[in-house]
């Protein structure tokens, strides 16, 4: 099943050695599922390093184990094997399991889990109720001015809008100055039009406070936009951990290529030093010589198309996205290409097209039988 992009050679990871804050080594979590088949679902084994002050995104389809991974980091879920270190302190290995309240890991839950019986102020100071009064008040003041909460301090959670609840949840999580905070789909119950601005706000607060954060999401645009690095999870397995740019341009596995960004794959055949495809030849790839049949990833941006009566492509469908349009173009063999076009372009369905590929990086996978 695992197909690897053999072209994945260029490692663009930052060469500057940053300080590792969290280190997971061979962590494996077995999920005792209640279903009758008795199928045990695994997360991992995975190894992961989270650098200080980094915003790490965890991206994957629902049910892939993203939330479980967060719960493993917090200690709310206990892995079967492996070791976890947070700030040079072992919090989990074969002999040791530090309880969640001692790990100094903050977490923002999906529905925020604000305590319904406490006011905003009481919610925020909940984790620092044992601090000195002056320190506590100072911290509260810092947070309320950082997040603009002064007007709501005496309200109850149910009296707040989704965005306000989110700010309160963030303030509550940040209050005890945790070493790292984990955000479980923080934007999931926010209206679509507010989502991007709130995401930027969250990010800027995290960066201002120099917080290390792990941000779980199933929305790829959110992850690509916000995260410094992204970990792609699929069915409990780590597919790739990389920068957004690399993830998009150099996906290491077929799953990542498919999941991140619109991509289509067309069949290709290795012929000497080039790949022959329906829409032209692609230059030599040194490491794929041993494979005969290939699948070449083609992003919509790489497809240039012009109306041309003798062209091989036919416009089948157009999806208007506002600032741009996505044209589906069918090739004679039945394969379909996607092409990104500016919004002013207006080609009717059925138009014949000439197609040119302008690949910036060549990503191909051996074709599965």
């Amino acid at each position: 099943m695992e197909t690897t992009n053999i072209n994945y050679q260029i490692n663009l990871r930052k060469t500057v050695k940053e300080k590792v804050l969290v280190r997971c080594k061979d962590v494996r979590y077995c999920y005792k599922s209640g279903n009758e088949e008795g199928r045990h679902w695994h997360l991992g084994p995975f190894s992961l390093e989270i650098y200080e002050r980094e915003l790490l995104g965890i991206l994957g389809p629902s049910g892939c184990g993203k939330t479980t991974l967060l719960r493993v980091l917090t200690g709310l879920a206990t892995p079967k094997t492996g070791a976890i270190t947070i700030a040079d302190r072992i919090v989990f290995d074969e002999t040791l399991n530090v309880v969640p309240e001692k790990r100094k890991v903050g977490m923002m839950f999906q529905e925020h889990a604000l305590f319904p019986h406490l006011t905003v102020r009481q919610n925020i100071v909940f984790g620092i109720r044992n601090w000195q009064r002056d320190d506590r008040e100072r911290r509260l003041y810092e947070l309320e001015s950082l997040l603009g909460l002064n007007e709501y301090l005496n309200r109850y959670p149910h009296e707040l809008s989704g965005g306000q609840q989110q700010r309160v949840a963030l303030a509550r999580t940040l209050a005890p100055k945790p070493q790292i905070i984990l955000l479980d789909e923080p934007l999931s119950n926010i209206d679509a039009d507010l989502r991007m601005s709130l995401a930027q706000e969250l990010k800027s607060v995290l960066k201002q406070t120099k917080t290390t954060a792990v941000w779980v999401t199933h929305d790829q645009t959110e992850a690509l936009d916000l995260a410094d690095r992204i970990m792609v999870l699929n069915d409990g397995k780590v597919e790739q951990v990389d920068t957004p740019w690399n993830l998009y341009n150099n996906p290491r596995t077929r799953f990542v290529a498919d999941f991140v960004g619109h991509a289509v794959f067309i069949n290709g055949e290795m012929k000497g030093k080039t790949i022959l495809t329906e829409v032209g030849t692609i230059d030599y790839l040194p490491c794929l010589e041993s494979f005969k049949k290939l699948e070449v990833m083609i992003r919509p941006d790489d497809v240039q198309a012009y109306p041309y009566d003798a062209g091989i492509g036919t416009v089948m469908k157009r999806q208007f996205l506002g600032s741009n349009q996505l044209y589906s173009i069918r090739l004679p063999s039945g394969q379909t290409l996607l092409s990104n076009q500016p919004s002013h372009i207006n080609w009717p369905i059925g138009t014949k097209m000439r197609i040119e590929l302008k690949l910036k990086s060549i990503v191909a996978f051996p074709k599965l039988k």
């Binding site: 309880v99 969640p100 309240e101 903050g106 984790g127 005890p176």
Partner: protein, 537 residues
């Protein structure tokens, strides 16, 4: 290995609770096993077939009548344009505040030759002969009006939650009203009807007060007679065994009938329900509902008030049952004292079990819950009293007929109520609150105290109220286990009424009714979420 051991230690208090809850019944069991064969043979030849028939018949008929009555009332209130339905909806639950045996006491005197009813009509100038209420149909009558609210609350809340989209979809498919009702609404309500039927079955099988007041022989009646009249524990235990078997069989049978029929369609969308237009049926329906309220609530309460007024004029000489104000206050205090003791203990013991079963259903304690939740409430108070009596008379005779024995009987009998209610309450509190508190640096116990406890308190209060009221209204165990000089209200009522001094039963009965008022709020608020099985026997 260490973790397993810790789990067991943590489970220990819960196990002790389980032991306390089940020992009385196990004791009856073992005692019945020791009964010699000749007695069994004689019982099989003489008593058991007749008791079986009479008990079974009563259960079957009352279950049917309550299902029909409760179902019709729920439909009228939820899905028709019945006038005043917003007011009638909560009012139809109110018959529950009068324990069934008090209704029976009222009607025994009201019906029959020279009864209160005849006198009443005579005063109005009509000479009517009212039939006596003793026997089968009288028992059915009283039990129907006393227990239909169980069916009514569950079915009406189920009807309330039924998604109107479903009926709308059926209409768009061109299904007629009658076919919609039979093919869609009734099957969707089947789980509710079945839950109501199980409650009524349990109730009728364990009822002592009504059947003995109305002189209809059932198992419970016979067992009670053996214990209190003849001190024949062997026969009592043998009959109890049969009763337990019958109870289990009936519950299993009902479970089979509605197997795998759980429909989940909880949208809580009440807008857009198209009400059934009653048309000319409007006035008859209103009369029907009014009649139910009269027979279930107003008439018994009216009779009690009438007796109470009369009792105020009784001379001191006639107050044989010593119904002075101080005496009333004394037994009232006894009732409240022992009931609050039982309620507090039940809630305290239920808490860890409920917590374990909701939060860690796979743990040892969580599994034990299933065993517990099924027993206790399902068995008649007479059996629990018998079991405790057997234990105490063999081990610590001093504790037999003591306040402690009574307390234990209530605790065992109503523990399941506290457990179910606290469970339901705890399910409403998301575990994420507690997890948040832990990640903010608080220990599990402190997290529970700071976050879960305040959110969970209303459910605990409900549990407390339910157990308190059930204990206060419990009759047979009180009669069998009370120590000399410690009469709860129920015993006062029963003693006065069974000797025919109805006026003197009125004051304690009214006090029980008044103290029961919180029950209505609990049941209306819970909307059938908790088992509304607040009174007993």
């Amino acid at each position: 290995m260490i973790k397993k051991g810790l789990d067991i230690i943590r489970a220990l208090p819960s196990f002790l609770t389980v032991v306390v809850m089940t020992v009385p019944i196990l004791c009856v069991f073992s005692f019945a096993m020791g009964v010699d064969g000749q007695l069994w043979q004689r019982l099989w030849a003489t008593r058991i077939p007749a008791l079986f028939t009479s008990s079974f018949l009563l259960v079957a008929i009352v279950t049917c009548t309550t299902l029909v009555l409760g179902g019709i009332l729920a439909y009228l209130v939820e899905r028709t344009d019945l006038p005043l339905r917003r007011w009638l909806k909560p009012l139809l639950v109110t018959p529950l505040i009068t324990p069934c045996y008090i209704i029976a006491i009222c009607y025994v005197n009201f019906f029959g030759i020279n009864g209160l009813g005849e006198k009443f009509f005579y005063a109005l100038g009509w000479e009517i002969t009212l039939p006596a209420i003793y026997g089968f149909w009288g028992t059915v009558f009283v039990l129907t009006f006393g227990t239909y609210p169980y069916v009514y609350t569950i079915v009406s809340s189920s009807l309330h939650q039924l998604d109107p989209h479903l009926t709308e979809a059926a209409r768009c498919l061109g299904v007629s009203r009658w076919a919609r009702f039979c093919g869609l609404i009734l099957p969707m309500l089947l789980p509710a009807f079945s839950a109501g039927a199980i409650l009524v079955t349990m109730y009728v099988l364990s009822d002592y007060g009504v059947v003995s007041m109305l002189r209809y022989p059932t198992f419970v009646n016979a067992i009670y007679e053996q214990i209190s009249g003849r001190y024949n524990y062997s026969t009592a235990a043998a009959l109890s065994m049969v009763l337990i078997a019958v109870t289990v069989l009936l519950v299993l049978a009902q479970g089979m009938l509605t197997k795998k029929k759980y429909y989940a369609s909880v949208h809580m969308r009440t807008k857009g329900i198209v009400l059934h237009r009653l048309g000319w049926l409007k006035i008859p329906s209103l009369f029907f509902v009014a009649g139910v309220l009269v027979f279930g609530l107003l008439l018994p309460i009216g009779i009690l008030i009438f007796w109470f007024m009369q009792s105020l004029h009784l001379s001191a000489l006639h107050r044989i049952w010593a119904m002075s104000w101080t005496e009333l206050a004394h037994s009232g205090f006894n009732s409240i004292f022992i009931s609050s003791l039982a309620a507090t203990a039940a809630v305290v013991l239920a808490l860890p079990l409920a917590y374990a079963s909701v939060r860690r259903p796979e743990s040892l304690v969580g599994r034990v819950y299933f065993f517990l939740s099924q027993s206790g409430i399902a068995l008649p108070g007479v059996l629990i009293a018998l079991g405790l009596s057997l234990i105490f008379s063999r081990t610590v005779p001093a504790l037999n007929f003591s306040v402690f024995a009574l307390f234990l009987a209530f605790l065992v009998h109503f523990f399941a109520q506290a457990l179910q209610t606290s469970q339901a309450g705890l399910r409403q509190v998301s575990p994420k609150f507690e997890e948040s508190a832990r990640l903010l640096g608080f220990s599990p116990i402190r997290s529970f105290w700071l976050v879960t406890r305040p959110l969970f308190t209303p459910a605990l209060m409900t549990a407390w109220i339910l157990v308190f009221l059930s204990s206060m209204r419990e009759l047979p165990a009180s009669l069998l286990l009370r120590p000399a000089g410690f009469d709860p209200l129920t015993v006062k009522i029963w003693n006065a009424a069974s000797e025919g001094f109805y006026e003197q039963a009125a004051a304690p009965a009214l006090l029980v009714v008044i103290l029961s008022l919180p029950l209505i709020f609990v049941i209306i608020k819970s909307q059938g979420k908790y088992t509304p099985s607040p009174e007993s026997n």
